[in-house]
């Protein structure tokens, strides 16, 4: 699966995208990300799986596209 980072989060992780298949649920992935990028913990963001916002601990599949999105400031 692909993990995409946007806005300020991209500056925290230093990456636009990482690829991984080791995590089966959203919480597992988040624990990994919080450990790897400590500063992420201070940020508020929401998560989209395959371009849909999710707010449950969904299962993750190999070809999923997961995106960490800071609060929106478009328009």
């Amino acid at each position: 699966m692909r993990i995409l980072f946007f806005g300020k989060l991209k500056e925290i992780t230093g990456k636009r995208e990482i690829k991984t298949n080791n995590y089966r649920t959203l919480n597992e992935l988040k624990n990994f990300l919080f450990e790897k990028y400590l500063d992420l913990k201070k940020e508020t963001f929401f998560i989209a799986v395959n371009q849909k916002i999710v707010d449950k601990n969904v299962k993750l599949k190999d070809n999923d596209e997961i995106a960490l999105l800071p609060p929106i400031s478009g328009g």
Binding site: G7, F45, I47, D55, S73, G74, G75
Partner: protein, 156 residues
Amino acid sequence: MKYLTNRKITKKFIEKILNKKDEKAGSFIIFTGKVRKDAVVNPGTRGKTYVREIIYEAYNKMAEKEIESIVKFAENKFKVREIIVKHRIGRVKVGEIAFLVAVFSEHRKEGFSAIQFIINKIKKKVPIWKKEILSNGKARWKKGSSYPKTPNFLLP
């Protein structure tokens, strides 16, 4: 991409919209959002700095889907004849157009309801972010406004 563009939204583009013939459209409304030369007071620095330009970043694939669903929803909810939406990505200077929505409708009331609905929804739901570049060269992400219910806490 249908709605996002990294090219300047020019007067020519707006003229093309103005030239549209629709004999049933009694009302034509166009909104353009421009980059403002906002003054930015930096704690610690004596002088004032200003916004020089804004860099817009989008989650393109999701943003296009979200705008499409907002436009479709508005077409059903309001009796309008045509909706046009353009949002810039990339570098937009002060005074340049970053966001454009135009609505053709038979009567103005539906037109105004629809255009305000569309603008508000896009600002709330579409994954786009602004990074302000200031006159002193500094950059800062604009604080976003919309949060989902349970943002980044460990979910149940």
